[in-house]
């Protein structure tokens, strides 16, 4: 009796939890009129019409948003990984008092809400002619998320023995060579966490592209979806299909890298 109870209870709870996702998924493959009349029913017969319509939209909303999101996300996380690995290494290895202060200042960045800085940021970007450009958004992302990268990398670097670097330095390697040839290859688990988490966060980011890319030009995946529910009589089949297509890359990414996800998330949850 008890051996059935736990799996049965677990399945029931997970089933209830999953219901909203089921409804969303069902509506992707359901014909337009049925979405309003019977939103919870199975999509029988299933249709690819909604997805096809989104892909063929005359304003190419999906394709433009996808391209923008891919560019912004990939460039941001590559730059972020390199910069925060270097800075994290420097800070983790330095024993000076001012670098500790700098570390603290960076860690404060982990809790700063974007609302506090967005308004001045738009002015900085406007002054440098980067407002409403992808470059501007990428630069902002790098600045805003660098604390997270530094936090992960410096924490990891403290677990790597410093003797490796010292012996390389004694053998005549420059700090650059020590970092790129010895340290960086050892940081792979931390690099994976940073790439995964920042990748998902930046892909899903809403308020920053909404403000920085501006209302008229350029949407990322998230702001694209947001605009598609605001502009006209909402075609929910289309919206659900758009959300499905926009989420698919993240979902595949997550399912493929689950183990690293969980590892990165729970590094600090257990001690020792």
């Amino acid at each position: 009796m008890r051996r059935v109870l736990r799996p049965a209870l677990a399945l029931t709870v997970a089933g209830i939890f999953f219901l909203p996702l089921y409804v969303a998924l069902a509506n992707v493959f359901k014909q337009g009129p049925k979405i309003a009349s019977e939103p919870a029913a199975l999509p029988i017969p299933p249709t690819l019409g909604n997805i096809r319509a989104v892909l063929a939209r005359p304003d190419r909303l999906f394709w433009v948003s996808l391209t923008n999101s891919v560019i912004v996300t990939s460039l941001s996380i590559i730059v972020l990984t390199l910069l925060s690995a270097m800075l994290g290494h420097y800070l983790a290895r330095s024993r000076r008092r001012w670098t500790r202060g700098l570390m603290l200042l960076l860690l404060c960045g982990l809790m700063i809400p974007p609302q506090v800085i967005l308004m001045p940021v738009t002015q900085v970007l406007r002054a440098t002619h980067l407002m409403t450009t992808l470059q501007g958004l990428i630069l902002f992302n790098v600045g805003y998320y660098v604390p997270f990268g530094v936090f992960v990398f410096s924490g990891f670097i403290r677990t790597v023995p410093v003797e490796l670097e010292e012996s390389a330095a004694i053998d005549g390697a420059s700090p650059g060579q020590v970092f790129w040839r010895i340290v960086f290859p050892l940081l792979r688990p931390a690099t994976a966490s940073v790439l995964i988490f920042l990748g998902v966060w930046i892909w899903n980011d809403f308020i920053d592209p909404l403000i920085i890319l501006g209302p008229s030009q350029g949407t990322t995946i998230t702001t694209g979806i947001y605009r598609s529910i605001g502009q006209y009589q909402v075609d929910f089949g289309g919206v659900f299909a758009l959300m499905f297509l926009a989420t698919l890359p993240v979902l595949v990414f997550f399912l493929a890298l689950q183990r690293q996800f969980v590892k990165g998330l729970t590094g600090g949850a257990t001690k020792g």
Partner: protein
């Protein structure tokens, strides 16, 4: 690398060390090359903007209504009695309490339920985590449809004989709690995964020893497992606290601060409205600064209280 000087010395705790002690110039160059890019982007896009915000909060800056003049602490004084701001403070507090408590409690229960080996439990853990990787916009739209007056939930309630099911998002009495529920649903998986990792770090010997001493399952959980989950509780609470306090996306997509006047307008939402819709940027900056101070105090207090509970095995 000829410029480096090999020095031999002792650290403060008396260990003998051999280290390459680079010249001052090289140290500066080392920092510029390694720390410079990261630090300068951070300064330009985070630190300087914070200082600019603090500066603006002391003015009446409005780009469409010049001239900008220094007004001292007037914005802050107005905030203290501004009904809109006080409402947003209350809304944010209610949401934060819901979002910190509900996913923490349910997450712990579900983690205990899933704390077994096998493919089934792994698969179910993934199910709970899916909303965490979904965009808040996507989650918001899904729930807007579900909780619509004519949506599936109310259709179901009508089928079960409820004549007038509540307007989950359109009734000012319920909207805030619906929003809290949606956020809790999205954050739940995060707590589940963190608690599961915590549970798997609890040595089974301890529980077994307590069982031999005659402790029942409830006492074993409360006196053995729960204290050892302290680090997981710290992580969950702090992460939930910080993310709850800056909730904006869901409000912007689902309710626009309504229904009625500001029944779901969080501080973060109010800051954006005041800054970019009303263009009262000086005033918005004052709100933003207050918000930052509240987050900092909340996080510091939570960290201090929670970390005191953490024990080393």
């Amino acid at each position: 690398m000829a410029e480096g000087v090999l020095t031999r010395g002792r650290t403060r705790d008396g260990r003998s060390v051999t280290a390459l002690r680079p010249s001052r110039l090289r140290r500066v160059w080392h920092f510029t090359a390694f720390g410079g890019p990261g630090v300068s982007v951070y300064v330009c896009f985070v630190l300087a903007p914070i200082l600019i915000s603090v500066g603006y909060s002391l003015t009446n800056y409005n780009p469409f209504n010049p001239p900008t003049t220094f007004v001292g602490l007037r914005n802050y004084r107005i905030l203290l009695t501004d009904p809109e701001f006080l409402t947003s403070l209350r809304v944010t507090t209610v949401l934060t309490v819901i979002v910190v408590v509900v996913p923490n409690v349910l997450g712990l229960a579900i983690a205990v339920l899933l704390d077994r080996r096998g493919w089934l439990y792994n698969a179910l853990r993934s199910v709970f985590f899916v909303p965490v990787v979904l965009s808040s916009v996507v989650v918001s739209i899904i729930w807007t449809r579900l909780l619509d007056n004519e949506g599936p939930i109310n259709q179901g309630l009508r089928a079960m004989g409820v004549a007038h099911p509540p307007g989950w998002l359109s009734d000012p009495r319920y909207a805030l709690y619906s929003l809290g529920g949606i956020l809790s649903w999205q954050m739940l998986g995060f707590c589940v995964v963190v608690y599961l990792a915590g549970l798997q770090g609890v040595p089974p010997e301890l529980s077994e020893a307590a069982a031999i001493d005659g402790a029942g399952p409830a006492r074993r959980f409360w006196h053995v497992t729960w204290p050892l989950l302290a680090p997981a509780l710290t992580i969950n609470t702090v992460v939930l606290l910080i993310s709850a306090f800056k909730i904006f996306d869901h409000v912007q997509v689902i309710t626009h601060g309504g229904p009625g006047s500001g029944t779901t307008a969080t501080i973060a939402y109010n800051v954006m409205e005041t800054a970019f819709v009303a263009n009262r940027r000086g005033f918005a900056s004052a709100e933003a600064v207050v918000m930052l101070v509240l987050i900092a105090i909340g996080t510091a207090v939570a960290l201090r209280l929670l970390q005191r509970r953490e024990v080393d095995l």
